[in-house]
Amino acid sequence: MSFEDWYRQDRLPHIYCAGCGNGTIINCTLAAIDQMGWKKEETVFVSGIGCSSRAPGYILTDSLHTTHGRALAFATGVKMANPDLNVVVFTGDGDLAAIGGNHFIHACRRNIDITVVCMNNQIYGMTGGQGSPTTPLGCLSSTTPFGCAETPFDLCELATAAGANYVSRWTSYHVKELEKAVKVGLETPGFSFIEALVQCPTAFGRRNKFRQVADHVEYLRSHSLLKAKRDRMLESGEKIPGDMFVVGELTRRNRPAMGVKP
């Protein structure tokens, strides 16, 4: 079995643009699920609206493609009604943090036993490139033509503060680490949140001077700071550059969880 077996072959090739990071993240998630030995009959994918949320339509399991931002509420209903099902949620940064912000913090608070993979491309890709709550300060998008004036969310800190059991962040460059992180998330009971920073060449990359897909991926690689290194830098008093982001397993704890398979 490989992750390829989980795809609906009659629906490929998919609608994603050339070089879209979402395809990579779906590969990694399916590879992790395949390693867990889960069966297709007992796995359910839930998603909201956006490029990331088109993913369940390409996967050969039961899936729920719901309204914008509400994926976590639907997933809560599925998991609580039938805790034997394995529920994985695909969302994007806008779907999760903007319209879905309230459901996000409550799902973390409840610590419901689902795994959320957030494909954070720092923009609203599907609708043409509007700013999102994670668009970095100063970046261009179609609704921030003079540079984004709002400070962005740190989704991982939000999840940790709200009570998630497992929080980790990787990028679309770090495929092997991402696959392992998703696997740990699937194994950990309680709310597992994996943020994956991805490139959006058509909306974000085009407006923010990443002319080649590879340039954007290189940017993601060079600006990611491993957690261990960040901790060392903090200890030694070194200043951490503002545009670096921390990757790795950021939170892992054992708070009481809801909806765990008995």
Binding site: A18, G19, N22, T24, N27, V175, V217
Partner: protein
């Protein structure tokens, strides 16, 4: 085994060229019928999975396959007696 890029799926993003640790890919020069330059295999003998998959019985490396956003990379068995370059490790 040998690496094959599915021409019906590849969209020419060239991410495989960037991520391969053994640098086996090179940018394509010829455009195919869809107008995409599929990456060429410059040094396929360096691919760890091609060489060692059958020996160890499991996937080795596979970063290009995981990274490819269009699921265009597969490994297929070679024909018997198909000529291919071999890299010898000391």
């Amino acid at each position: 085994m040998k690496l094959a890029i599915d021409e019906t799926r590849c969209k020419g993003c060239n991410l495989c060229i960037k991520v391969c640790p053994y640098k086996i890919f090179n940018e394509g020069r010829k455009l195919n019928r869809k107008g995409i330059a599929i990456p060429e295999l410059d040094r396929p003998e360096r691919c760890a999975n091609c060489r060692l998959r059958n020996l160890y019985g499991r996937q080795i490396c596979g970063v290009c396959q995981l990274t490819c956003p269009d699921q265009a990379i597969h490994w297929i068995e070679e024909e018997p007696y198909e000529p291919h370059k071999v890299a010898i490790e000391y």
